[in-house]
Amino acid sequence: MTTRWSRLGRITMVIGVLAGSLYGRAATAGEEDDLQTQIETQRAGVSDLDRLDEARATTEEITMLRTWLDEAWGLRSKHEYDQVREVLDRCRSQAELIRQKISAAKLRLQVQKRELTVRELRSKIDATRKALQETQIKNKALEVPTT
């Protein structure tokens, strides 16, 4: 009976060790794929950001982001997953920074356009007023012989 239980125990232990070994390998492989997916997703996002940055206001930041994604890729290859997650977290923040800077740049561009529009309007107003003044002077001058 004891022998019987011993064998069963041994078999169970062997199976457990084998299962644990297989599970560990499967878990490691899933984390790596997940990090790869995140890196690729972020790389695709960088391209989108690059297209959005029409004013080229975040060229440096985008370059840096790409560098960091490459770094993350390298760390993933070395199975330094904690560091990969840390770099990816920084990359997400950097991407957010880029989005905000792009929005700010677009707003700045709008401001510049509106300032230009206002300046042009002011210029037109000045020109119109000057023309009006000249016309009024001419009218005044023509009033004398008329009256």
Binding site: Q94, Q100, K101, A104, V111, T128, P145
Partner: protein, 396 residues
């Protein structure tokens, strides 16, 4: 000996430096320095209001980075500093967006105000331009009108000048013709007094000047014609003035002669009278001798002589300018005083009878001739012939 001692000293100093360096804090990471630089940005305060969580997280990471740097954990320090930078920059970007939005709002308001202002100014300019165009059109019309007026004025002036010149010419022509007519009239007036006969010199001068004036008119020299006509007129008037007395005298003589001849014819036509002309010196007189008017020794007119007396009265009244002398004559036989008285009475009777027939008594003088008549002396004329009354028309 000395060099060995120096070498030992240098080796000891180097060893001391290396030891100190091994115990000192490492250099601050560049990322942390950059964060601190960004943190000094004045916009961070505003960013902290807009995104307090981000700024707080950045500060927290920076503190952690600093601690890690102090702990010589440089890699961790750099990573946290980088993360702190990213969060702080994100907060700044968000803050900038808010500022830009506010700025856009301000600019939108300014743009709206400016557009409204521009619209107002443009409207004013359009009105002023329209007014200017109208005034310019008015000015152009006024100039055109003034030019027309000037042109018309010049035309009128030219026409007026022409008319004035024509008027002056006509006036001159009229004045010349008037002067010429005056000269012609004066010359004709001179003709009426036969100035060509009694004042030949001025008359000839007047005629010559008149011809000259007519020639000058034909030649167009109106001024010269006027002067010539004026001179002709003066000469003609002078000629007329000079000729008038002689002409009048001659005319009067002619008239008197004609009247005398008419008187003689009319007197001769009266039946029962004898008519003769007597000349005494330069004067003449017509004598109508009437016989048989009285009976013998009577002084009253006999009957049947009325027709004769009527004829005599008619003749005397027909020629009213002649003074009439009624002369009584008698025969030679008798007392002279009585004869004279009888002759006087008979002449008076005839005068009275003539006056009764309308002859003005003031024209008549009555007398008796005391001397016998020539007929009575020279010829044995019958008494009736000697006893007669003579009606004498005294010539001028």
């Amino acid at each position: 000996m000395t060099s060995q001692r120096i070498d030992r000293t240098l080796l000891a100093a180097l060893s001391l430096c290396l030891g100190l360096a091994a115990c000192a804090t490492p250099p601050k990471p560049r990322e942390l320095e950059m964060f601190e630089g960004i943190r000094k940005n004045p916009g961070v305060a505003d960013a902290a209001k807009k995104s307090p969580e981000l700024v707080a997280a950045a500060d927290k990471l920076a503190i952690k980075s600093g601690e890690e740097w102090q702990s010589n954990d440089l890699e961790e320090s750099r990573r946290d500093a980088l993360m702190a930078q990213i969060k702080l920059k994100t907060a700044l970007a968000i803050s900038e967006q808010e500022q830009m939005k506010a700025r856009i709002q301000v600019l939108s308001n300014q743009q709206a105000d400016a557009e409204e202002e521009l619209a107002t100014a443009s409207k004013d300019l359009a009105s002023a331009t329209e007014a200017l165009e109208l005034r310019q059109k008015l000015g152009a019309a006024q100039k055109a009108a003034a030019a027309d007026r000037e042109r018309l004025s010049q035309q009128m002036s030219s026409e007026q000048q022409k008319a004035q010149a024509e008027k002056q010419k006509l006036s001159l022509q009229l004045a010349t013709e008037q002067k010429l007519a005056a000269a012609q009239l004066a010359l004709r007036t001179a003709d009426t007094v036969e100035a060509n006969r009694y004042a030949q010199a001025p008359y000839s001068a007047a005629a010559d000047m008149l011809k000259k004036a007519e020639a000058e008119i034909k030649a167009g020299d109106l001024v010269g014609a006027q002067l010539s006509a004026e001179v002709a007129r003066q000469h003609a008037e002078r000629a007329a003035e000079l000729a008038k007395p002689a002409y009048e005298q001659a005319e009067q003589t002619t008239q008197n002669r004609a009247r005398d001849e008419a008187l003689q014819r009319d007197a001769t036509a009266i039946p029962g009278v004898a008519v003769r002309i007597e000349r005494i010196g330069d004067s003449q007189r017509l004598v109508i001798s009437v016989q048989d008017l009285f009976n013998k020794r009577e002084t009253a007119l006999g009957s049947g002589h009325e027709p004769l007396l009527d004829s005599l009265a008619v003749l005397i009244n027909k020629y009213p300018t002649y003074p009439i002398h009624v002369l009584g004559r008698t025969e030679t036989r008798g007392k002279p005083g009585e004869l004279l008285a009888m002759s006087q009475a008979r002449a008076q009777s005839v005068s009275t009878a003539l006056a009764a027939r309308g002859v003005d008594p003031r024209r008549m003088t009555v007398s008796a001739d005391p001397a016998p008549s020539a007929d009575a002396k020279t010829a044995p004329a019958p008494r009736a012939k000697s006893n007669r009354v003579e009606i004498v028309f005294l010539y001028h």
